[in-house]
Structures are given as structure tokens and as C-alpha cells.
């Protein structure tokens, strides 16, 4: 076989995660380039709720087992291994997500296939495939050739549009039985994020600060500037990791995805994990001392300057 298989994901019991449709979009283009079929792989205790919007795929492989209800790294990796062994896909597409990062490396190792991770583009030329990865915190792109070998590509979230991969309809479904393989890891319970004081996904204006703020003591300055602009304060990951701001203020891959009218990024370099959460804001203004910072590739306007000078000036101006 020489088809393209896309491993879908779900956290909630009622629908696939949006990232699954991004992957199907990427897979559709790759399959068309290779002249092969696109197959959606759906895993779960009951896969029925996930099959309604897979019209973009040519076929579905549904893998059902009680061990696949809640995400389990061993059960999922083992199920995907079975798919690879049965179907021998030309390309197996996974996502660079909490789920995908547990599945892809283990499956690559056990099925002896090359894995290319953090993929943002897949280029098919003839029967050769080149995958482009974004590395070094977004500073460099690396193009990797897998030639005509069967391989696994782990695709970064946000690199492809979900809309292009979401289409009503259920193609032909093939059921695949697997041996349960969850022993060693047991799901205990899920925790929804705490609501907290501010819901940054509902704010029209956000001022987000990153590593450039340097110290927790400097946060009140940013808070004052945000208040003067009518904006709520948000942040990139390092600040919440340090406990300087609550987790509900974090924008990005492991935080919130926001689409405000105004997003001011101050002292944020623009790692892909952060960009993923804010790139669809209407107006993006970046303030950073490093003129080469990747954030300027995503911002509409930029100030190559020190946030400790620009934010107080902005506050004065707003007041």
C-alpha cells in the first residue's frame, strides 16, 4: 500500500479536536501529490461520535478498544503500531500535540520508520517527499528529505487550516481490532482549567508580556500600561511556569488560543508554541529589543525597542 494515513485526536468524548482537521488538510494535499488515498485513523472506546466530518478522507480506519477511551500513551502507540503494520502507509501523519508527542516517537522506534517532527509544510515532488520543520524556537526552518521511504511526519499545530480538512460526511469505514496494551499507565482523572479572574479568550484587547519582562517585580509596570490601554494582561509560557502569573493568562500551545482586536506582544520572541495561540488576532503590535525576533514576522507593526521604555511611554500616551 502507499496511502497517507492521518491519526486524528480527541480529548472530549463528543468531537475530534480541531487539530485533526488540520492534519486531514495536510494529508489531503500530500495524498493528492502522491496519487494515493487519504485514510483517517480514528481511535476510541467508541469511534461513532468522531466520524461525521471526515468527508475529506477517502477511507476511515476505526480502531475501537476500551483501552483507547481516555488517552493512554501505551495503548495509543500500540494501536497506531498495529495500523502501520497492517497498512504499511507511505506517510503516517501525526500532530505535535500532547497526544502526538507521546505516540510518534515510540511508534517511529518500534516500526523502524524515520520520523520528522515540527513539520509545517510537506512538499511532494514525483514520489519523493520533503518535509519542512520549524526548529530553534522558530528561528530556523529545516527541510528534510525522506525520499521515497515510508515515514512518519509529526505536523505542528496551526501550520494547516482546519477548515480545509473538515467536510461533512463519512467515507467507507474499516474496523481494525487491536490487542489492549495500556498496562503500566493508568488514566486517573481529568482537570478542566480553573476559570480564574480573567478569561483572556473573551477580551478585545490583550497586552502580553514574555521573558523580556525579566522579573516578577516588573509586572505592575506592564499591568499599569495594560490598564491604560483598556487591555487585559496575558503572557507567554515562561511567566506562568515561574508562577508570576496564573495559568489562565497564558497564550499558546499549552495555554489559551486568543483572537482579540488588539494583541500587543512585549518582550516575547515569538516561539512557535506562542504564535500558535495568537496569530489570528486582528491587529498585532510587537515590542522587542531583538530586531530579528520571529514575533516580527507575525506582527502587523513592530517596535525594535525596550519594553521598559516603550510600555511606560505608551501608558502616558494613552492617559
Amino acid at each position: 500500500m502507499s496511502d497517507v494515513y492521518a491519526v486524528t485526536e480527541h480529548q472530549a468524548p463528543e468531537a475530534l479536536d480541531g487539530v485533526s482537521y488540520e492534519l486531514l488538510n495536510a494529508g489531503r494535499a500530500a495524498a493528492d501529490g502522491l496519487g494515493s488515498d487519504l485514510v483517517a485513523v480514528v481511535l476510541g472506546a467508541d469511534t461513532d461520535p468522531y466520524l461525521d466530518e471526515l468527508g475529506v478522507a477517502d477511507r476511515v480506519v476505526a480502531v475501537e478498544d476500551d483501552s483507547l477511551g481516555e488517552f493512554n500513551p501505551l495503548a495509543y502507540a500500540s494501536a497506531v503500531e498495529t495500523v502501520v503494520e497492517e497498512a504499511d502507509p507511505r506517510l503516517l501523519l501525526t500532530s505535535v500535540t500532547s497526544i502526538g508527542m507521546d505516540v510518534s516517537p515510540r511508534v517511529a522506534r518500534s516500526t523502524d520508520r524515520p520520523l520528522v517532527s515540527y513539520v509545517t509544510d510537506i512538499d511532494v515532488e514525483g514520489d519523493g517527499v520533503v518535509a519542512s520543520s520549524q526548529l530553534y524556537g522558530g528561528k530556523m526552518f529545516v527541510d528534510s528529505s525522506i525520499g521515497n521511504e515510508n515515514a512518519i511526519l509529526a505536523v505542528s499545530r496551526g501550520a494547516f487550516e482546519a477548515d480545509g480538512g473538515r467536510e461533512a460526511g463519512t467515507p467507507e469505514v474499516e474496523e481494525l481490532a487491536v490487542e489492549p496494551a495500556a498496562a503500566g499507565v493508568e488514566f486517573v482523572e481529568r482537570h478542566e482549567p480553573e476559570a480564574g479572574d480573567v478569561d483572556i479568550t473573551r477580551e478585545d484587547r490583550l497586552l502580553a508580556v514574555g521573558r523580556g519582562i525579566e522579573d516578577e517585580e516588573n509586572l505592575p509596570m506592564a499591568e499599569d500600561a495594560a490598564a491604560a490601554m483598556g487591555a487585559a494582561l496575558a503572557s507567554s509560557r515562561p511567566l506562568t511556569d515561574n508562577g508570576w502569573l496564573p495559568k489562565n493568562r497564558q497564550v499558546g500551545k499549552s495555554g489559551k488560543t486568543v483572537t482579540p482586536d488588539l494583541y500587543i506582544a512585549a518582550g516575547i520572541s515569538g516561539a512557535p508554541e506562542h504564535i500558535e495561540g495568537m496569530k489570528d488576532a486582528d491587529l498585532i503590535i510587537a515590542i522587542n529589543t531583538d530586531e530579528e525576533a520571529p514575533i516580527f514576522d507575525y506582527a502587523d507593526y513592530g517596535v525594535a525597542g525596550d519594553l521598559f521604555e516603550v510600555l511606560p511611554a505608551l501608558q502616558d500616551q494613552a492617559e
Partner: protein
């Protein structure tokens, strides 16, 4: 409990990077290399666990040394934080892939008696995938990644795994196991230079010969090009003093219907 922490070095995140003359790797010659920040979190979480349990756990840090970073300093800093054993695997080729790192760490750890391996969830150079899942497979033990807290309950590791959108879930994991640490449950501690100096006097670094370990690459892919992002749609830069720039920002906001 014996905890092993395989660590790698990466270009300092604040460094500007450039392609090498071949255009297939970063230019490593003038680049500063530091401990992978996720590995630093793995060390912190292990030390926190040891302190909370207070049951005489042993923590071993195993570092790959390609000669580009001050690995001795990194190891002594780890000792000053509470790590018990320091191991250096030297003469590592530069630009090592995660596949090779997994093989090297895997063959070292397969011969040692550990209960848990904590490793950073990813590194900036993980082009071919992340370490934890590969090590889990090589060592034939469970693995779980994107972990933000580790406790021990009834002989099992009780870990918090992070999903998108701030959702987390608790998992119980049998030992031995490999954990990919996203973030320690507290920020990595700062240790003063005086403590590091004291650690240098008290701690030995065990040397392991790479020739005694497997360093197989496994199936890989060929880098055809390394390049900076195309800067087609960069931001329009606002020049001038902070005051001028601020005035212009307010004007731009106003043009977008955003009054202050």
C-alpha cells in the same frame, strides 16, 4: 527510588543563529550552548520529589558532552541543587540527532538499575522527534510526556499531564518508566556560585566511554536545507523614540477603530 536524568545541550535561546556554509546545519562555531531548558525542569522536578519524599532517593544526571558547552559547570550546578551522581558521556559528535541520543542514553540506562527516567519533553533540536517516547520503547518500559508534576503514590508515579487549552489529567505510572517533563511544579531554583564551588569540591564526575555504548542513528532523513524563515510579511517597523513610537501606536489603534 533511583532517578536518572539524561540531559542535552542546545544553542542558548537568546543566541542569533546562522546556517553553516553547507546550509544544512546551524553554524555551531560561534554559538553559545547551554543546558536544554526542559532538562533543567526535569532536574528540578526530580530534586523536588526527592525533597518531598525524604526517603533517600538517588538522582543521577547523565550528560552528553560534544565539547561545545561547559558540561562540567552544568553537572556541578546540578550537584549543588541536590543531584547525587554526575555522569558525562564524552566525545559526542556535534549536531547529534535525537535518534542517536536515544540510542546512547538507552544503552547506558539499560545497564543501570533505575526506577524512573526524567527527561525534558523536547529540545530545540528534536527534528526527528522527542526523546521520552524513544527511550520508553528502547528500554521497553512505559513512558508519558508533557508532564508538569510528579508524585509517588503507593509505589507508582502519579503524574500530571498537560493537554491543550489548560486541560490536565492525572495518570498513575508503574516503574520503571520514562517521563518527558514539560515544566517542574516549581520554577528551577537558582544556586549561588559559592554552592556550585562547594559542589565542585565534593562531587566527582564519572566518565563513560562512548565506544562502550550503542550510538546507532536508526532510520533517518536527510537535511537538504537549513534556512531562516522567509521574511515576506514582516511587521512594518515603527521608528523613533519610545514617545514617538507610542504616539504612532495609539494612532494606528485609532485607525483600526480602537480608541484609548
Amino acid at each position: 527510588m533511583d532517578i536518572a536524568i539524561p540531559v542535552r545541550t542546545v544553542p542558548d535561546p537568546v543566541e542569533e543563529l546562522e546556517p553553516d556554509p553547507d546550509g544544512t546545519d546551524i553554524d555551531r562555531e560561534w554559538t553559545e550552548f547551554v543546558l536544554n531548558e526542559f532538562d533543567e525542569h526535569a532536574i528540578e522536578e526530580a530534586v523536588l520529589l526527592k525533597e518531598r519524599r525524604d526517603e533517600g532517593d538517588t538522582i543521577t544526571v547523565v550528560a552528553l558532552d560534544d565539547g561545545l558547552a561547559d558540561v562540567d559547570q552544568m553537572l556541578y550546578t546540578a550537584a549543588a541543587k541536590g543531584v547525587d551522581r554526575l555522569v558525562r558521556i564524552g566525545e559526542i559528535p556535534t549536531g547529534l540527532s535525537t535518534n542517536q541520543a536515544a540510542s546512547i542514553f538507552g544503552s547506558y540506562l539499560a545497564d543501570s538499575d533505575f526506577d524512573a527516567v526524567f527527561t525534558g519533553v523536547q529540545s530545540a533540536e528534536d527534528r526527528v522527534g522527542q526523546l521520552a517516547g524513544m527511550l520508553g520503547k528502547d528500554l521497553d518500559v512505559p513512558h508519558i510526556s508533557v508532564i508538569t508534576e510528579v508524585l509517588v503514590d503507593d509505589g507508582r508515579l502519579e503524574v500530571e499531564k498537560e493537554f491543550a487549552g489548560g486541560v490536565t489529567a492525572t495518570y498513575a505510572v508503574e516503574t520503571p518508566a520514562v517521563l518527558g517533563i514539560q515544566a517542574a511544579s516549581e520554577p528551577p531554583r537558582y544556586v549561588p556560585v559559592s554552592q556550585i564551588r562547594r559542589a565542585m569540591r565534593g562531587a566527582d564526575i564519572e566518565e563513560v566511554d562512548l565506544a562502550d555504548l550503542d550510538s546507532g542513528e536508526g532510520p533517518g532523513s536527510e537535511v537538504v536545507s537549513l534556512h531562516e524563515p522567509e521574511r515576506g510579511e514582516e511587521a512594518e517597523m515603527i521608528a523613533g523614540s519610545p514617545e514617538d513610537a507610542s504616539a504612532e501606536i495609539v494612532e494606528i489603534m485609532s485607525e483600526h477603530g480602537l480608541e484609548v
